[in-house]
Symmetry: C2
Subunit: 293 residues, 2 copies
């Protein structure tokens, strides 16, 4: 993602768009038996975009309401020696194709039925400075690989350049927290999103709201630091809404907050810190109210 790529589409603040995406290998892999030497591995995690949103300026926050995620009917997963927790134990790249039943929301894994949890792996705005590869997450969003970025959720993304220059891709039909093998069930899709300028939230990192509560997402080389910073950023977000002194907020985070993991396999790792909705209600914080109506 980059501020220097020309927009492929210009829309107005509040418009809804339906975005077609290809899988994380740009649909180059069609069979587990093909010659992988013909695959260009540099074409990883393509995002569709950038989209220029009129009326959204540098310094704003972009509110992305995730609508329908329409999956294609065939996807793939991969493991290998180049990445993932088990990379030192796997000698060569292994690829498996999956037929996906979008009506029943299931797929099969050697006779085991697995339910799908369709989600968006790469989603973000153009980063502040130098281009960031789509494989890498950061304050701009990018490859956060969060299974909570799914239908019905609202994602808030910092805007570094006029128009936001938004893009998304790398949809997964199924993934667990950690994405420990390096890939989810990678698949092409059509994703509908509503893009608008956020009215009430100010954040330096991506924030996600769903039916359960609010999640602060921070990416860092070290998971330890990503977790710690996600807590600090959540406290920063919460503090203006309460008279509690800092020690009491920290204590409250310890009792009701949850340190969670998006992924541990991308060039930077991503943690999310979650607090439940009743905390937002108690402090009259109105981010994402439309979720509750």
């Amino acid at each position: 993602m980059s501020k220097d790529i020309d927009p492929v589409l210009q829309i107005d603040d509040g418009d809804t768009v339906r975005i077609h995406t290809v899988d994380c290998f740009e649909n180059q892999i069609t069979s587990p038996d093909m010659d992988f030497d013909t695959v260009d591995w540099s074409r990883q995690n393509p995002a569709t975009g950038p989209i220029f949103v009129n009326g959204v300026a540098a310094g704003d926050v972009l509110k992305v309401t995730i609508g329908k995620i329409e999956l294609e009917d065939r996807g793939l997963a991969t493991v290998g020696p180049s990445g993932g927790v088990m990379k030192d134990y796997i000698e060569e790249r292994f690829i498996k194709m999956f037929d996906v039943d979008t009506a029943l929301n299931t797929t099969g894994f050697n006779g085991l039925e697995i339910r799908l949890n369709p989600m968006i792996g790469v989603i973000g705005n153009a980063p502040y400075d130098a281009p960031v590869p789509n494989s890498t997450p950061g304050a701009h969003g990018g490859n956060m690989d969060c299974k909570k970025i799914t239908e019905g959720t609202v994602l808030y993304l910092p805007v570094f350049h006029d128009g936001a220059l938004f893009g998304l891709g790398d949809v997964h039909a199924r993934m667990g927290d950690g994405e420990v093998g390096i890939s989810g069930l990678e698949i092409g899709a059509a994703v509908t999103v509503k893009l608008e300028k956020a009215a009430s939230i100010n954040t330096n990192h991506p924030v996600l709201i769903d039916e359960e509560g609010i999640n602060m997402m921070v990416s860092h080389e070290s998971l330890d630091e990503a977790v710690d910073e996600s807590v600090r950023q959540m406290i920063k977000l919460l503090k203006p809404h309460t008279d509690l002194p800092l020690p009491e907020i920290a204590m409250l985070m310890s009792l009701v907050g949850e340190a969670q993991i998006n992924q541990v396999v991308d060039p930077l790792k991503t943690a999310r810190f979650f607090i439940p909705y009743y905390l937002l209600d108690h402090y009259s914080i109105d981010y994402g109210q439309e979720l509750k109506s």
Copy 2:
């Protein structure tokens, strides 16, 4: 915890015991207004034990079925400059007392009602070699601070010495994943557990089974390494039960496994890797079958 502490109780394989515990400061703190200079902070995280279990030998695995956790009606939480994610931002130790309603399973935090999730912070066997402070987790168990160690779950602990030399303490009335502030809602309790030699599981790290599935717990200085090793240990546990080659197991873990966090504030951090029950069913793995009957 240590192999050199004399047992306080000797029981038979399969016996059930009710264990009284004091809070993580040995009940020294009775009011937020007391003089904390009188508190001996070295008396942290006391565990009740060791209990010698007849018929359990070094090299076995101890199966601990967690029964009732009966909380006292008053507990406390603390934050401060000596530990926790926010330690660099909090100038002096702050302590808050909590009245706990065990009938309604709630407590209050400045007008906010919080539901309790009673859990055991410290639980383990005598470690293999040198004594390990109760504040520190490890392969023997110890201060794993896992909110899933609660009523109705089964914990499997490696046994390093004859009789297991089991102990537990540091009960929390409420805690979120991460325990980011350094303490949960610390409280005295009576905990009923059944202790027996495990028949069917072989593990080098604590394993927990609940209604949802199975969790592998690994502690390490770095959360990054704790997560990675928890995945490797889970695969080691699963591998004998399936004909899938390693790359396919790694892929399956990526799709249906979940990398989760126990705590990030103890001398070692603890990660857990979770796989859902249907995976155990599919591979005819019968750990903890009694949970399902």
